[in-house]
């Protein structure tokens, strides 16, 4: 009896530690994305180097968490909601790592755009607006994971449509500038790539929210189309 109480307490601690690590990684990734967008919007390209270098920390987190989940599965053979949590975490970590990569791409793109010294394309500030929305989605998705709050997670999933629509509008706009003045093409394409990364961040945040719903309710709502 004593033994099993001891074991289950140890198990709880393992799971709590795992969650905390995931959220710590999420915080880092979110900060990376924020810094990247700030570098793009403000033209402060000095930060780009830090962002690119910090990406190894994100990757480090991914490795550590993967190892921890393998340990938990091997040692404790979790079942039911514990198993869903562990499985969900492995997927969330993958999405977070990708967001880290997108942040790195945005930072590098920002450097290119500003080195061309031609950010005078009108409406470029709109990118910041969409990016703020995508990052807010990520923040909310992580909050919903911390609280296992299904309602918040569902909100994130709905918000993704808005980011997608705005992304398309931005691209259309950039196309008109490119047609008007071919000299803007280099910069405009760089900005399109940045927008694309922003849109991907929104998608990954949505995935995280879907995993949260899976963890909390055991419902798999991926690829569910309109029902989701």
């Amino acid at each position: 009896m004593n033994e099993s109480v001891h074991l289950s307490k140890q198990f709880d601690e393992d799971l709590t530690g795992l969650r905390t690590h995931v959220l710590e990684m999420g915080g880092l990734v979110e900060a990376q994305a924020r810094a990247a967008i700030h570098a793009y919007a403000s033209g402060d390209t000095a930060a780009v180097k830090d962002i690119v270098e910090n990406d190894y920390r994100v990757n480090g987190f991914e490795k550590i968490i993967d190892e921890e989940t393998i340990h938990v599965v091997a040692k404790r053979q979790p079942t039911a909601s514990d198993l869903r949590l562990v499985m969900g975490i492995t997927k969330i970590v993958t999405d977070l790592e990708r967001i880290g990569d997108e942040a790195k791409k945005i930072a590098k793109g920002a450097r290119r755009v500003h080195e061309h010294g031609q950010l005078t394309l009108p409406r470029a500030t709109d990118v910041r607006h969409v990016a703020d929305e995508a990052i807010a989605m990520l923040h909310q998705a992580l909050d919903s994971f911390a609280r296992l709050d299904v309602v918040k997670a569902a909100e994130v999933i709905h918000a993704d449509t808005k980011v997608d629509t705005e992304f398309k509008a931005l691209v259309r706009q950039l196309i008109t500038y490119m047609m008007e003045d071919p000299r803007t093409i280099t910069t405009a394409i760089d900005i399109v790539w940045i927008c694309r990364s922003v849109e991907r961040i929104g998608d990954h945040a949505k995935n995280v929210a879907e995993h949260v719903i899976y963890i909390a309710e055991g419902r798999d709502i991926r690829h569910a189309g309109k029902e989701a």
């Binding site: 709590t16 905390t20 959220l23 710590e24 915080g27 979110e30 009108p122 703020d132 911390a146």
Partner: protein, 433 residues
């Protein structure tokens, strides 16, 4: 207890008498029956007590007779006292919690594992915590900024951590963790946005003044050296001297603007009795603007017959600055409309142009000293970077606020609404403009 024993003895006497008079067996039997009855009664009270302990409440502490009565009475008293004490504690606790809520700073208390125990509303807003769902959650799960997680983990809480908020753009928080009572921690969150901004402005101001003055000074001393050391032709010498005069003129206007600002800041409020004939004043300023424009712009004036009580020199400098800005930032062929119009009981001064316009992100900072939306253009047109700061000050001394509407490429509109208390009903000079 003693009473109860005594009662048993009292019953022993008739039993003994019965034993002697009838037979010992009868005596013993009588005594046994009495004892059994007493035992039964005790059992009844005991079962009442047992029932009560299942769901104790002060109202229905059981009642009993004899020795039981006393026990039950004491129990009743004790129960009442305990309840009163708990109610008092509750009130005290609520008061402490209410005091915690009243603190402007955010407060979060953590246990030894950094789990959230309690937080006030301010902290909830600043950090995005909700006590209903987050009690017992490790704080690092919700406040995930790497800087905070590291601060929490490293454990050196001797100085506060400066953190920019993720919830409110531009908000800066100062977070200080204070250990207390054996391993528990108190997180104090203070909004330092305002003081941070002031600090920044002061640093910027000193740096800017030095920079603004150094640039013309460098040019000046460079030319001085040239003129003194090189044999120059008269024409060339005159050209250099003209450039030097221009630079010293620039320095003069910067110093002049700085002095104007400091006068505005330190002088007594503008008089409430001295009348300024606004239509006249604007007429003069329009002529100045036409001179500055040199015929490149179309400048119109529409002025209602309303006058302001105030200081003429301050208003002239406020309106003049806005008008000359419009001239400088509107390309040739543009239109500039100066208007002074009644708006209900107030009156509004406005300058509207169709010039280059201002990006939205610059607008909130336009009136900061030496803030320039477009560095190159501003210097080129001879701006000191202090004009709008002077305008803002001069207007606010007349209880008017500067409003700016602008979009890049489609022009700007600067306006100021003067309250009724500063205005006359009709202009004293009824000259139509």
């Amino acid at each position: 207890m003693i009473q109860s024993l005594a009662l048993s003895f009292v019953f022993a006497i008739p039993s003994f008498v019965l034993g002697i008079l009838v037979s010992p067996a009868w005596g013993l039997a009588f005594f046994c029956v009495v004892l059994a009855l007493r035992q039964l009664k005790s059992l009844r009270y005991f079962s009442r007590l047992e029932n009560w302990t299942r769901d104790p409440s002060a109202q229905d502490v059981p009642e009993g007779a004899g020795a039981w009565d006393e026990v039950f009475a004491r129990l009743h008293r004790h129960e009442k006292e305990m309840r009163a004490a708990i109610a008092r504690r509750d009130v005290e606790l609520q008061q402490v919690a209410a005091a915690g809520q009243a603190i402007v700073d955010g407060i979060v208390t953590l246990d030894t594992d950094n789990r959230i125990v309690w937080c006030n509303i301010a902290a909830g807003n600043q950090l995005g915590l909700d006590l209903r769902s987050d009690r017992g959650q490790p704080i690092a799960n919700l406040v995930r900024q790497p800087a905070f997680v590291e601060y929490l983990a490293v454990g050196d809480y001797s100085r506060p951590l400066r953190l920019s908020s993720v919830r409110d753009d531009g908000q800066v928080l100062s977070i200080h963790i204070l250990p207390y009572a054996g391993g528990d921690r108190l997180v104090q969150v203070r909004d330092v946005t305002q003081s941070e901004r002031l600090d920044q402005m002061r640093r910027d101001f000193v740096a800017n003044v030095s920079h603004e003055l150094r640039t013309p000074l460098t040019v000046l001393s460079g030319f001085l050296e040239t003129v003194r050391e090189l044999p120059l032709a008269a024409a060339e010498r005159d050209r250099y001297l003209a450039m030097m005069a221009e630079q010293s003129g620039r320095m003069q206007s910067i110093v002049q603007d700085l002095l104007t600002l400091s006068t505005l800041e330190s002088s007594p409020p503008p008089p409430g009795t001295e009348l300024v004939h606004v239509p006249d004043l604007l007429g003069r300023l329009q002529r100045d603007a036409e001179a500055l424009s040199g015929g490149r712009h179309e400048i119109s004036l529409a002025a209602d017959a309303v006058d302001i009580f105030g200081a003429e020199s301050e208003l002239a400098s406020a309106f003049g600055n806005l008008i000359s800005n419009a001239v400088r930032y509107t390309p040739a062929g543009g239109k500039i409309d100066i208007a002074w119009q009644r708006r209900g009981s107030s009156a509004e001064f406005s300058v509207t142009d169709n010039g280059i316009g201002i990006d939205a992100r610059h607008i909130p900072r336009l009136t900061e000293r030496f803030y320039r939306a477009d560095l190159g253009r501003s210097r080129e047109t001879g701006g000191t970077g202090l004009g709008l700061a002077i305008v803002k000050h001069a207007l606010s001394r007349h209880q008017a606020k500067l409003d700016v509407f602008s979009a890049p490429g489609s022009g700007s509109r600067f306006s100021a609404l003067f309250p009724a208390t500063r205005l006359t009903a009709e202009s004293s000079c009824a000259k139509p403009m």
